[in-house]
Symmetry: C2
Subunit: 691 residues, 2 copies
């Protein structure tokens, strides 16, 4: 798919096309690519073309040649279905995205997927499509910028100083997560966040008036935002002026309300839902070409238009200036500069392995009976002390999730929007996200995408339902985001079935590229945290108990790291024969399995107990290891206080689980009521063995 790079098409002396032509180039590329694919969304790119000219042509600080430049402005297309807008901008301004890629819009293995995907297309900062999340990612990016600026900038040395821009539509604003995100942006006084609302009055079902009557400017003022407009979104100068005004804000995020016509330029479809999500058709495209006075063939862009859009020279210059500034910073503050580079690269500190081993040894030495949520906090004490990039938080359950540590005081902002610092000049590192689980998860995605920080956040496991799609997006985007889900299963007791996550462990394990850990004790919890931090290209969910769990006899750390391991052979309960059955158990049921093993030993039945803190990790092990843990021909019985579906893949003969909702009662009563007793597990094993 190599093709002539755009820069070869014009000389430095080529005259530059006017803004109208720049905008029409986007219109043409969008309608032609959607037509070629016979699939896609021309409406938003055509409607937002002038807004894009104003932002990308006049304000955006970026360098097409280096998509990893730390101090670039971040741009998010929250209305991700308008992907051709972004692909057009990336191509025209000089990113590594050829015209052939645009011709291959939405085809297998192209870099121009139906919705923008981070990691696939150079210059795409986040994967968008599920509405509302792009805005929320942008809030996370803007927060990351603010925190890193507060941490790393020094008098005379401003090395972190960029803005986050986000395009969004009516759909994003209807979604609930837009409320969570915008409220947080207001509370955090993210003055460098600038959002453009494509206020075209149309969504897929038609003119939005019957179902979307919000006074959006008033709503955003209620969040503490600056609202500019409504302005004419097809007037480049008006948008340009609005951006200039927005950039003056230090303390409040800005919403620029741009009145636009969806599908602008199409004589028969502009301003209608028909323009939103289907190809215009050859006839209407011809009419549109005539109407906008664009007489070039599909995928042909005149040199003047390329010249007007080209951002390479300016970008290289900007980045070079920044590199020079950074060099001078490095000379003045070498340790800070090295730390900044390490953290933006996502590399853990050199002593990480030692910190992790020490934490595990500490857990092993103390061998404490402890809730795994508490064990998580103990592990976090060590990790947050060693890793300044760890940025914690909780969706209003800090004291329950135990996500805070001595190293992570609460993050606060002063009236002027600055990070409040302690006497040593350190800002807070634990975020009170409020009761906003989905918002928290998508903000964390934005923080991880920005780089420089590793976000983790807590809520009850049952509320992983609220944040589920953002967890999925982190997995799809391969981002290191860590979810601390406490109050696992029926062990939370009296709060009852609304709060008892019986199907959530199994359900999270289904999300591709998400690691799920349900540790059984302090050592497994420490290892789970270690693996989560080492998971540079995937998110991790830690499922932690409310209730105390005993410390278990332990194999080596390496074996725990493999996700499942032999916890106890028959010999440990005095039997010299080979195991007749294997009990697999996770989390709060692992110690139950040991009790069942002991019960069975009294009857002369030899059982091996396998602890399975992470099925997702175990499933990646080689077959030799797998069969060493689960020997062929030995019947298997799984025990987990949750739905049973996921365990049959291990060839189990029986699963002691819970395929109904829980009840409201003290946890010990519930475990007994639902059959999570050593006796019932032992009976199940006997039934399987016919013994």
């Amino acid at each position: 798919m190599a093709s002539t790079p755009p820069q070869a098409l014009f000389a430095a002396s080529t005259p530059k096309a006017p803004p109208t032509e720049m905008a029409n180039a986007i219109r043409a590329l969008a309608m032609d690519a959607v037509q070629a694919a016979n699939s896609g969304h021309p409406g938003a790119p055509m409607g937002m073309a002038e807004i894009a000219v104003a932002l990308w042509g006049r304000h955006l600080r970026h360098n097409p040649a280096d998509t990893a430049w730390a101090d670039r402005d971040r741009f998010v297309l929250s209305n991700g279905h308008g992907s051709m807008l972004l692909y057009s901008l990336l191509h025209l301004s000089g990113y590594e995205l050829s015209m052939d890629e645009l011709r291959n819009f939405r085809q297998l293995h192209s870099k121009t997927a139906g919705h923008p995907e981070a990691g696939i297309t150079p210059g795409v900062e986040t994967t968008t499509g599920p509405l509302g999340q792009g805005l929320t990612n942008a809030v996370g990016m803007a927060l990351a910028e603010k925190l890193l600026a507060a941490e790393f900038n020094r008098p005379g040395h401003t090395v972190v100083d960029h803005r986050t821009y986000v395009f969004l539509g009516d759909g994003c604003l209807m979604e609930g997560i837009s409320h969570e995100a915008s409220a947080l942006a207001g509370a955090w006084k993210l003055g460098k966040l600038i959002a453009f609302y494509d206020d075209n009055g149309i969504s897929i079902d038609g003119k939005v008036a019957p179902w979307f009557v919000d006074d959006t400017p008033k709503r955003f003022e209620a969040y503490g935002w600056q609202v500019i407009g409504p302005i004419d979104g097809h007037d480049v100068s008006a948008v340009d002026a609005a951006i200039t005004q927005a950039k003056r804000s230090a303390e409040t995020p800005t919403l620029i309300v741009c009145k636009t016509s969806i599908g602008k330029g199409s004589p028969n479809r502009a301003g209608t839902a028909k323009a939103h999500g289907e190809a215009l058709g050859a006839e209407e495209i011809a009419l549109t070409r005539a109407a906008i006075n664009w007489h070039h063939a599909p995928f042909v862009i005149p040199a003047e238009v390329y010249a007007a859009w080209d951002a390479k020279a300016a970008g290289a210059e900007r980045q070079a200036a920044w590199e020079a500034a950074f060099a001078s910073y490095k000379a003045a503050h070498p340790e800070l500069a090295v730390a900044f580079e390490r953290r933006m690269a996502g590399t853990l500190p050199e002593n990480f392995a030692q910190v992790a081993v020490d934490a595990a040894i500490d857990a092993h030495t103390k061998a404490e009976t402890m809730a795994t949520r508490k064990a998580s906090q103990v592990a976090l004490e060590a990790f947050t002390a060693a890793l300044p990039e760890l940025l914690g938080g909780s969706a209003d359950l800090t004291g329950s999730n135990l996500t805070n540590t001595k190293s992570t005081p609460p993050l606060r902002f002063d009236a002027a929007g600055a990070v409040v610092k302690d006497e040593q000049g350190r800002g807070g590192r634990h975020i009170n996200y409020g009761v906003r689980e989905f918002g928290m998860a998508a903000v964390m995605n934005g923080i991880a995408l920005h780089g420089g920080l590793i976000p983790y956040g807590g809520t009850f496991l049952t509320f992983s339902d609220y944040s589920r799609n953002a967890i999925r997006m982190a997995a799809l985007m391969k981002q290191r985001v860590i979810h601390v889900f406490t109050h696992d299963s029926i062990g939370l007791g009296e709060d009852g079935p609304t709060h008892q996550s019986v199907e959530h462990a199994a359900s999270l394990r289904l999300i591709p590229n998400l690691d799920v850990w349900r540790p059984a004790d302090t050592a497994e919890t420490t290892v789970a945290w270690t693996r989560a931090l080492l998971n540079t290209s995937k998110p991790t969910a830690l499922l932690l108990s409310r209730q105390n769990l005993p410390y278990l006899p332990k194999a080596g750390l390496d074996e725990i790291s493999r996700g499942a391991y032999v916890l106890a052979e028959p010999s440990e309960v005095g039997l010299k024969k080979k195991a007749q059955a294997v009990i697999l158990a996770s989390g709060s049921e692992a110690h139950l399995a040991l009790h069942a093993q002991a019960e069975l030993a009294k009857l002369g039945i030899a059982v091996r107990v396998v602890s399975v803190p992470s099925t997702t990790t175990f499933d990646r092990q080689d077959s030799a290891y797998k069969s060493s843990v689960l020997p062929a021909g030995v019947p298997r019985i799984a025990v987990e206080a949750g739905v049973t579906d996921g365990w049959w893949k291990y060839g189990c003969a029986a699963v002691v689980g819970l395929d109904t909702y829980g009840e409201s009662a003290p946890a010990p009563a519930l475990f007994k009521h639902f059959g999570f007793t050593a006796q019932n597990v032992a009976d199940t094993v006997r039934k399987v063995l016919g013994a």
Copy 2:
């Protein structure tokens, strides 16, 4: 758990306690019950006690003796953790909830679960706890009232005329779903919805100021609500006056902002997060008793307080008056009255079975190749014509979900808030929910709980993630809510992995008491709809294809209804021997299994194909039927374009599935790319058989 009913404790002549005492009775019961359980949330009941006195003592139209009275006001405690407030009110006003139940707060099998549960406790209208959803349920209830009033009331006969009241706290207002719900309530002009905001400035993490800076009155004005206050939430007269004012609104929902002190009455904990979610302790309870001048033992309520709260006589009187009015309505409009009674009872019309059979026969006769989303619309044409209670909708994807029919024009309201009707006097029956998936799902729960309507709503399957917890709540509450999830799996093609629901079928099947159907053709789709409508005590998710699927040779309707059935024996591809293997397939992969069967037949390999439109339904069948479909000893291979975990429970030797994310490309290219071809399925069978 029988105990003396409260009404026996006082005579008609007993003087009535003043409002202060009424409020303090709630405080005492809440703190004592939480103390007895050593678990629970005293803060909200103690802080909202006076609001409850004003509403329950002076305005709420209800009859404690009949929790099913159709025209009762609905009351929702959206801040469900304050369950002891509701239990106290139900007990004190005369519901079938004894003091022994209050003593047994949060114990196994009590009627006083940790969070209020509909169906467990008489008088609890909806299960709450997951924040924001109670408010959204209330919006659904208020909408149902408005629609039924428009449909059934006649001049001189007002048989549907009640209000919906909802208590909510800061947590509900931080949740994103509160945005979706409140925007819909404004758009729908739900004048009879009255919400009380317990504005105490505290959430679990402490004083909310750093993370919750919304100007909430301004926000709700932006949604088109009437906002009253802030008023003093501890001044019964002020709350009373606000309710009177709110009840005058015909067109706008009302938010009454009540400034309160959480845990009011507790000298050391009031106004602090400490009051929220833990027992006060014996010492603080003693101090509170002294401070509020409450000198009765735990769980002892003086007769004067019972007398003041008692709502039985007034309730019986109100209901009797309504019954008389309904009798007169029935005399004037017998058919309407009978229809109203039938619908409020949740019974389907007598001709339902015939309609369902006709629809299935029609599908079978036509034997059309069709997308199952389209087949769903065809089935809906028949069902919506026959069932006036069917109330459709879509989260801004009507033309994609195909949830609308000729019988269900769009629901619209005029400027005065009245339902717009056609010339025959019929209002709309299809709701444009906007891009609000979670809101739609929780509104549907409220509609179902209200009764009189059967809600169904559509979105893309991938966005079931957004609504997941509301789907779960419908299942937990045993409500007949039908989710139309289209654009199943990779078959949607170019929109790419953000929109491709590879793990969603498996994940929805894990939710207890949810039926999931993934039909393969028009007949299976019709049966799926039939079963969904017959599922009076569970929700159903219909997973439907975007792409066309061929009509398959068919067993009888009864067999399809069992969730899995023999679609094709080896004899149908010309082999006279017994099946050597069984291929299980669902939805878009069923026809693929038939092609694989034919390929294998060429090699002399005899295979049975089992279509599995609903694993959840099949799993409930008796073992005789199960083993008739899946005979013992015959190897099984499953095929589904999704994650494999769920299929191993059928003892499969192999699963042809997809444990990674999809890609953006045309659907046929994707099916080939990911190995969903007859050849690959056949090869997998051969590998299993070693043939």
